[in-house]
């Protein structure tokens, strides 16, 4: 137990060291590198070192604690980034949930009928080669047409839908692999017990899929965040991190460090999303045991 804690501590220490090394590399290169970067054969393979291109690490960090603008109404930058990240997190979570339902649903259909697997799987793979940024406005436009009773489609739902489009893919693939993972011996055992497809699903296939499903869900969460941010930028949804990302990018000429705030925010947001799914793994730890070969 203590050995394990020591290992976790060491992992964290090295991780922090990695970030420090990155910062040192950044500053070191900025200090030593040519102002116009390193150009080899017409391509600038190492970046420019101007303050505009590479703000100092301390400027980027310090900017987080200054106010967003001079206006009295504005608070510190980190607060603006954090609250925007929370909005995006909420949308991404909805997108992730939809992705989970759709992904697992698809995997069940493909599991049940092999012809469905043959028919759908290539398209599911193909779906991820579609540049969805090109679709965001279309989704928003179609969404705005959806009115069912008192339910009216909101713009954030378009963003969540796009997030789910990125999230469902690893989940569908991972779930399918996991559901197909039980050994023949286990499947045949269930057969000898004379129980049907659904009961086998519940008692065998779902529990057995956990080790595959967890990384897929984590990947799905990271994808949902990425999708949400892209869709926010594309549809111009207010309030989220995508919005301040373009907003501050627009102010980067006069305030270069400011543009990095939402970038750090997006990273933390992605890590938080992926990390919270990893917590699921703790709850389901008994389902991650593997049988040692006899």
């Amino acid at each position: 137990m203590t050995a394990m804690r020591a290992r976790t501590a060491r992992a964290w220490l090295w991780g922090v060291a990695g970030i420090i090394v990155l910062a040192i590399l950044w500053e070191g290169y900025k200090w030593l590198g040519p102002a116009d970067g390193v150009v080899i054969g017409g391509a600038r393979v190492l970046p420019r070192t101007s303050d505009l291109a590479m703000p100092h690490v301390w400027d980027m960090a310090g900017r987080l604690f200054e106010n967003v603008t001079r206006a009295e109404t504005s608070g510190p930058l980190w607060l603006a980034v954090a609250s925007a990240a929370l909005v995006t997190l909420g949308i991404a979570a909805v997108g992730w949930l939809v992705g989970v339902v759709v992904g697992i649903g698809l995997s069940l259909v493909m599991l049940r009928w092999r012809i469905a697997e043959w028919g759908l799987l290539p398209w599911i793979v193909l779906s991820q080669t579609v540049p969805l940024i090109a679709f965001a406005p279309v989704v928003k436009s179609w969404g705005s047409r959806v009115v069912i009773g008192s339910f009216e489609w909101q713009d954030w739902m378009s963003v969540a839908l796009i997030a789910s489009y990125l999230a469902f893919f690893p989940i569908a693939i991972g779930a399918l692999r996991g559901l197909q993972s039980p050994d023949t011996i286990h499947l045949e055992l269930m057969h000898t017990y004379g129980i049907g497809w659904w009961k086998t699903l519940g008692r065998l296939r779902f529990p057995a899929s956990v080790p595959y499903l967890l990384p897929a869900l984590r990947l799905g969460a990271a994808n949902a965040v990425i999708g949400a941010v892209v869709a926010e930028v594309s549809t111009g949804l207010q309030g989220g991190i995508g919005r301040i990302l373009i907003q501050y990018a627009g102010q980067a000429s006069g305030d270069p460090a400011k543009a990095w705030g939402p970038i750090f925010g997006a990273i933390v947001l992605g890590l938080v999303a992926a990390g919270s799914v990893a917590l699921l793994g703790v709850i389901l730890k008994n389902y991650r045991r593997v049988e040692v070969g006899t």
Partner: protein
């Protein structure tokens, strides 16, 4: 969406109206935000929701698809959409002048469009490039004679020399340059550091921010017609407010969600006012000559893939002064000055980063 609600409007009930902007909330749209904030729309019985757009939302398409009731968009872009099948009408030409500049370094020798040849010319794309091609066409240059570089959201590409002449709006990107620090001096850049070519001074100049409405509904939907006039009246009042008190208008847009700093915002409102006022025929009235110049420019502009925004004259329904005139008449009757005769821009001092 607004389609059904726009026909309400009787009694105390407000008619809901959706207005699609062409970018994030900012001083460029101060008049509309002011009209909301000051209750001008409400006075007209309207409940207006302003919908900002992001990178890829095409405002005129949101309108053509029926997502919104009115949209703000540049004329040459909408002409393309009309040719592609959208049925839209320009009901008010809010910006009388083009605010587009092409900025180069003072020592670059790029003083006119004719000097573009062989240079790296910046543009945002998204249909913002037609003025460049139209102006070049007038100088006998085609798009293959320059290298077009897509600009992103800031002026860094220009500041670092990736672009020889960058596209800039008087009210936004030009200010971004003046808010940036010159690494050589440690001070902000000044206007003397740059050469500025204004498209307003070229035959490439095209009409920009206009209010667009759905042509069919304008023709057949009486409630929409009524709403349109009311809407325009409130908008005019909003822009008059912005002209009278740019500082207040600037504060309003910031409160409405603009992310710019106060000095940049005030600059933007002030420069926007200059594009609108004075308006001798009344704010929003479409000048036929300017319209024709825009159409001609759009017909002559050819981009690097060989595409033009339009290949034939737009239909007559593409613009109409009928509604703005009604609005102007009603306001004039109430004693409102809609020409901005006494308009005087203020002086705005920009600070670093626009803060």
């Amino acid at each position: 969406d607004g389609t059904d609600d726009a026909s309400g409007g009787g009694g105390d009930e407000l008619t809901s109206v959706k207005l699609q902007l062409q970018w994030l909330p900012q001083g460029q749209f101060a008049g509309y935000f002011a009209a909301v904030d000051q209750g001008f729309f409400e006075e007209e019985g309207l409940d207006v929701e302003i919908i900002p757009s992001g990178g890829d939302i095409v405002p005129q398409d949101a309108l053509a698809n029926g997502d919104v009731d009115y949209a703000i968009a540049w004329v040459p872009k909408v002409l393309g959409s009309i040719e592609a099948g959208a049925n839209l009408t320009n009901i008010a030409q809010i910006f009388q002048r083009s605010g587009t500049l092409q900025v180069s370094w003072a020592d670059s020798g790029i003083d006119s469009v004719a000097d573009f040849e062989g240079k790296k010319i910046g543009s945002w794309g998204f249909g913002n490039e037609w003025e460049i091609f139209a102006a070049m066409a007038a100088e006998g240059l085609d798009s293959s004679t320059v290298e077009i570089i897509t600009q992103d959201f800031n002026m860094n590409a220009f500041l670092q020399g990736d672009i020889d002449a960058a596209q800039a709006m008087t009210y936004n990107e030009y200010a971004q340059l003046l808010e940036a620090v010159d690494p050589d001096t440690g001070e902000l850049y000044t206007e003397d550091d740059f050469n500025v070519i204004s498209y307003q001074d070229t035959v490439g100049a095209m009409l920009q921010d206009a209010i667009w409405a759905d042509t069919e509904r304008l023709e057949s939907d009486e409630a929409y017609q009524e709403t349109t006039v009311k809407f325009l009246k409130a908008v005019i009042k909003g822009w008059i407010f912005a002209a009278d008190d740019p500082q207040a208008a600037s504060d309003i847009t910031i409160a409405a969600g603009s992310g710019w700093g106060p000095s940049h915002e005030l600059w933007m409102v002030n420069e926007t006012n200059k594009l609108i006022w004075p308006a001798p025929d009344g704010i929003g009235v479409i000048d036929e000559a300017a319209w024709n110049q825009t159409v001609e420019g759009a017909l002559s502009a050819v981009n690097e893939t060989g595409a033009s925004p339009i290949t034939e004259e737009p239909p007559a329904s593409a613009w109409s002064n009928e509604w703005i005139q009604k609005a102007l008449d009603e306001l004039t009757a109430d004693g409102v000055d809609v020409t901005g005769e006494g308009f005087a821009p203020i002086d705005v001092e920009l600070v670093e980063g626009g803060n």
